[in-house]
Amino acid sequence: MLLPQPMKHVRLLVLVEDLPQASLSLAETGSFHPDPRTPDEPRVSGQPGSDYRELYQEARARLEKIAKLVPVPDTPSIDEVRVVYHEELKAIGQQLRNRWAQVQRFEEELRRVDEQERLIREQEAALANFADLNIDLGALRTKTRFLDFYVGMVPRENVRKLQGSVTLAGHLLFEYLQRDDQTHVIIVGPPGEQESRLGTVLSSAGFQALPIPEGIERGSAAEKIDELTQRRAALAEERKALNDQLADWEREHRTVLLEARRTLLLAEPFVVLDPSIRSVGHLAVLAGWVPAKALPSLERRLAESLALPFDMEVREPLPEERRLVPTVPTRSRLLKPFDVLVKQYGIPEYGEIDPTPLFALTFLLMFGMMFGDVGHGAVIVLAAWYWRAKLKDFAWFGIAAGISSICFGLLFGSVFGYEDIPWLPAIWMAPLHDPILMLKVALVWGIAFIVLACLLGIYNRIVTGNLRGAILGPHGAVNLLFYLGFLAGGYGLATSGSFGWGPGLVVIGSLGVLAGYQWRHLTGPTGERALIVFIETLDTVIVYLSNTLSFLRVSAFSLNHAALAIAIFTLADMLGTFGTVLTLILGNLFILVLEGGIVMIQVMRLEYYEGFSRYFSGEGHAFAPIRLRGSSDSSQRIV
């Protein structure tokens, strides 16, 4: 569980004709993480999949556009896994192009209806405005002998420029209504040559004519508004009809669209692999990383599916490739929520110990100790269970934290802050009974945590080939030696009043080695080097001291938890019966939410800063094999 899954580098040589099948087979196994590096051989530089990728992306884009208007499932199940060749993909693309043209027509029609509806609303507003004016609206409809009228609306930002432009054409512009981002205008001017100049300007300005309805006369605007309302109703009917037609279209073409989606899903693995594929002539090369356990099934699948000969070379990752090797994630469902929290820091580099199980254990222990209460723990468990549908995997996280809290609550004999309960005596002791002991326990816990973190860090560096770092680097062996000597000396100082020659020599010796190592690797003037070495050495002492003392918060919060409860009881005692009950309920809620949240953050801080920073680089990258989405084959799982 702690050790990483060994990975192998796989190089496949296949014939170009077999690439689509090879990609599909690799996707079906779900165990091939592509290596996009260019092969060393310069001749192997062709990219055979680029046309295929273009066709795929074109077809996929069209399908996504169609899917915005009619429902097309994202990952329909694929019952028959088959290879999608170039010609089929091209044909699908063409089909989707035609269908998009059909669907787009509906889209444009719906937009046209929306636009007409908007125009009608604007006309209604304009007529309502005109109704208050004592003018003959009919006169605005048509050209007269001496004057032309243009009634319409223009985007507000264009009005001023349009005014200037129409003035140049011998016309006048009047604004009479502002609605949203549109301005209603009337443009008046002489007919004739100038009028023809106006047309292009009006269209450039986005002018939309608002036709005055036929038969309108003085005082009849109100009737015409009713007519417009009827037209709006007709447009609503038209919209409904269009939506019905769209639905009919969708029903008629559903099978084709679904099949197109399936085809694209089957083509997807080749497209995903494409950046990693190179070719020379008819030979294609693709490389990737595969978990060692999955190699036999991968080779078997390729042998079964590829019609033409192929070759598979397997080797161990080279030391210089360590950073490129992906790390297979934790598969345990129980550890999944903790995995999410670990990933907030980073992903383990290949070869490093998986910190997730250790993180889970130490997190729960520290949380329990800092928030130890049977009642509070039970509430957390029940809440996590109740909201398990929403919390999903994090429900287990809540349940585990709650159980830990219950366990420590039993140790402390605390139920909703009440201690010394006759029917529930403390298995160990209540925190406030002996705060000094609590602090000592936290201190010992912190020392053990830091030592373990250092040991893990040393191991991780050894397996990643960084021997020098394992010994002389930060939190390496020499650092650990210093820390142990420092602790021994500190213990001696606390018990017998003397640091001790042995611990003293160990401390000075290890600090000297570290300082010497740093000195050799620094460049610059002597004084500057000396200053840096001095400060870094001092920092080593301070960091380890402060990191150790940092763990005192583990007991501090358990004491705090008890103290908060006391404060609530004190407040409750000052009130009447109803007030007492209310205070107890609200007070415990306050503890649960506020203190619970703070404790979680504090534990995360200890884990990340005192723990991960010592042994977890977080610079790895996750194993992301190519997969066949929608496949009903349940064997498509990595080991």
Partner: protein, 355 residues
């Protein structure tokens, strides 16, 4: 960093960068260098790459020069306030609009996608079109492309361009709408500044708009033969010389010489005797450059000086690109000098035939 400290830092940065602007003598010396010498002097290794054709070299050089400009832009906007940064980024978005125009032309004229892609500028995230270019390429038409962009911060530009295109189906109107919207938005952004920066910024943007308006006016009236109304509509009134009322007078003039004579000082004197649009373009560009240098020298507003510097630097980048292009195409030195504004242009034909 306090506002005063930020401005002091910005001013210092601009001064340091401005000291490296090329003067006419240096441009003249550069124009006499061979291609390998230019490659070394300007640190353009693509010019020496024999595996690239001349088109590819040209594109690589243009991208390299633009990238330098963008790096300097990124450095200058760091200490600016949000308003200043918004203005400078708006200015920088002209490159994104260049990409947009290239994509639209590709859709309108069914141009080769690969070649179009190769000619697009690589831009940093803050200046890029907000939709991945592949997604824009997948649009089946110019209209669809503009509809996609309407959902982004280019919404106003895209909407106006689409409406114009739907009404006119005219690529020219589409591109003119985009350009016009770009400058209109710059002027709107200017209004958010306080009085300390507003005056010098109005000078900078005003000079830029004067140049743009004059060139557009001449081009639309005398090359494309648009009527005065339509011409006026596409212009963006400036804060300085070519303000709204003046533009209304000028667009009605049917003759180049009369129009130049009717320009306000100093434009009338500086442009008197211009025989072609290219000559007008060069002369007014020089005037604008002089104005930018004045702002650089005398203004205390960091943002205004930064914008002035970037405008000058962009001009310099274009000149350098012209030089490299000229050398790649093996043009004679006298043509190169014209392109680099070291000599007066003499077109084989006169206005209005010249575009």
């Amino acid at each position: 960093m306090s506002a005063a400290a930020g401005d002091a830092y910005l001013n210092t940065r601009v001064s340091v960068m401005a000291s490296r602007l090329l003067d006419t003598d240096t441009v003249g010396k550069l124009s006499r260098l061979t291609l390998p010498e230019l490659a070394e002097r300007l640190t353009l290794p693509a010019l020496l790459d024999d595996t690239l054709g001349s088109n590819a070299k040209s594109r690589a050089v243009e991208q390299a020069l633009v990238s330098l400009l963008l790096i300097e832009l990124a450095i200058l906007i760091r200490p600016m306030s949000a308003t200043g940064r918004a203005l400078i980024l708006k200015w920088g978005r002209k490159l994104a609009l260049f990409n947009l125009t290239a994509l639209l032309r590709s859709k309108l004229h069914n141009l080769d996608q690969t070649e179009t892609l190769e000619n697009l500028f690589e831009l940093p995230p803050a200046l890029r079109l907000p939709i991945p270019r592949q997604e824009l390429f997948r649009a089946e038409s110019a209209q669809e492309l503009l509809r996609i962009l309407e959902q982004t911060q280019y919404g106003l530009i895209a909407r106006q361009a689409r409406e114009v295109y739907e009404q006119r189906r005219d690529p020219f109107a589409l591109e003119a709408a985009i350009d016009q919207r770009y400058y209109s938005e710059m002027t709107h952004t200017l209004m958010q500044f306080d009085s300390v920066s507003l005056q010098p910024l109005r000078r900078v943007l005003g000079a830029l708009l004067d140049q743009v308006n004059l060139i557009w006016m001449l081009r639309f009236r005398f090359s494309y033969h648009l009527n005065p109304s339509e011409t006026f509509f596409y212009l963006v009134p400036s804060f300085r010389l070519l303000h709204r009322e003046r533009l209304l007078e000028l667009v009605n003039i049917d003759n180049l010489e009369q129009l130049i004579a009717a320009l306000p000082p100093p434009l009338d004197a500086e442009l008197a005797g211009s025989r072609s649009l290219i000559e007008v373009q060069q002369r007014v560009a020089k005037l604008t450059a002089q104005e930018m240098h004045r702002v650089l020298a005398y203004s205390s507003s960091g943002v205004a000086r930064a914008l002035a510097y970037l405008i000058l630097r962009e001009r310099e980048v274009r000149l350098l690109f012209s030089l490299v292009q000229g050398r790649l195409l093996e043009l004679p030195d006298d043509l190169l000098d014209m392109g680099l504004e070291l000599a007066e242009p003499h077109c084989p034909t006169t206005m209005p035939a010249a575009a």
